[in-house]
Amino acid sequence: MMIIALSKDIMQIIREQDVVPFRNRVKENAVKIKMSLLNQTKLITAASELVRNMLKYAGGGQTIIEIITKERLTGIRLTFADQGPGIPDIQQAMKDGYSTGKSLGLGLPGAKRLVNEFAITSEKGKGTTVIIIKWTNG
């Protein structure tokens, strides 16, 4: 049941222009493990939502792209870690249509729907970390 990381790619996101190279890097990794086009699209879309949140609410942060295996599964794990203000009420932030900004409020719940595993931890004043996993055939 253990997850083993086969490769690890770290990217800093500080400006909006960093988003496109980041998305491309995610895609390269997904192509490497022969993820279907649909799953690639879902993963990259989820990544795009999360990276935008990081830029908007925390002024950027660090992303980690990993190729992982668990038993017979292969997939991509993405980590988004920021040192922003944190999310006071995660349950509320995970609801569709909730936004403190002027967005549609689809970012977090939408991203969760697009991936196989989604974990979020946040501490007020310290930052937020979101980890998502998309399996090749998930």
């Binding site: 909006e16 998305r23 939502e49 967005s103 549609l104 719940p109 697009l114």
Partner: protein, 136 residues
């Protein structure tokens, strides 16, 4: 600064998005397009997104905005060429793009735009007719 070109063809404006958009680029496209609609008095806007590999909630919102803003300026918007994977992802994300006309390809998109504009003209004539009657 990158820019997405907007082509004018008769009453229509054509936009082909060939690069992956970052947020500012999408925002610029939105304001450029709306200004072009106003300046050229275009009746229709056709946006080809066949080369766009992902549409997230921000891009989706921009597309919706362009359609609503153009409608207020009396122009119809049709989005064409969406990749199937993008369509599936948009729905799962929770963004059904209601209020945006879509077509499978540029050709069908043009036909749809022409139909919409014809119907629009007919309605206008109808209304003026009614006005004349009430004046009498």
């Amino acid at each position: 600064m990158d820019k997405i070109p907007i082509l004018r063809m008769g009453h229509f404006l054509l936009v082909t998005i060939q690069v992956d958009l970052y947020d500012q680029l999408a925002l610029n496209l939105e304001s450029d397009l709306v200004q072009m609609v106003n300046k050229t008095q275009a009746k229709g806007v056709l946006i080809d997104i066949s080369a766009v590999s992902i549409v997230d909630s921000f891009m989706g919102r921009i597309i919706g905005n362009i359609a609503s803003m153009s409608r207020i300026l009396d122009a119809q918007t049709v989005v064409v060429g969406m990749q199937p994977a993008v369509a599936i992802t948009l729905i799962e994300l929770g963004l059904p793009l209601t209020g945006v006309h879509t077509a499978l390809n540029v050709e069908r998109g043009m036909t749809l735009l022409k139909e919409k504009i014809l119907i629009g003209d007919y309605d206008e004539d109808d209304e003026t007719g009614d006005d004349d009657n009430s004046a009498e």
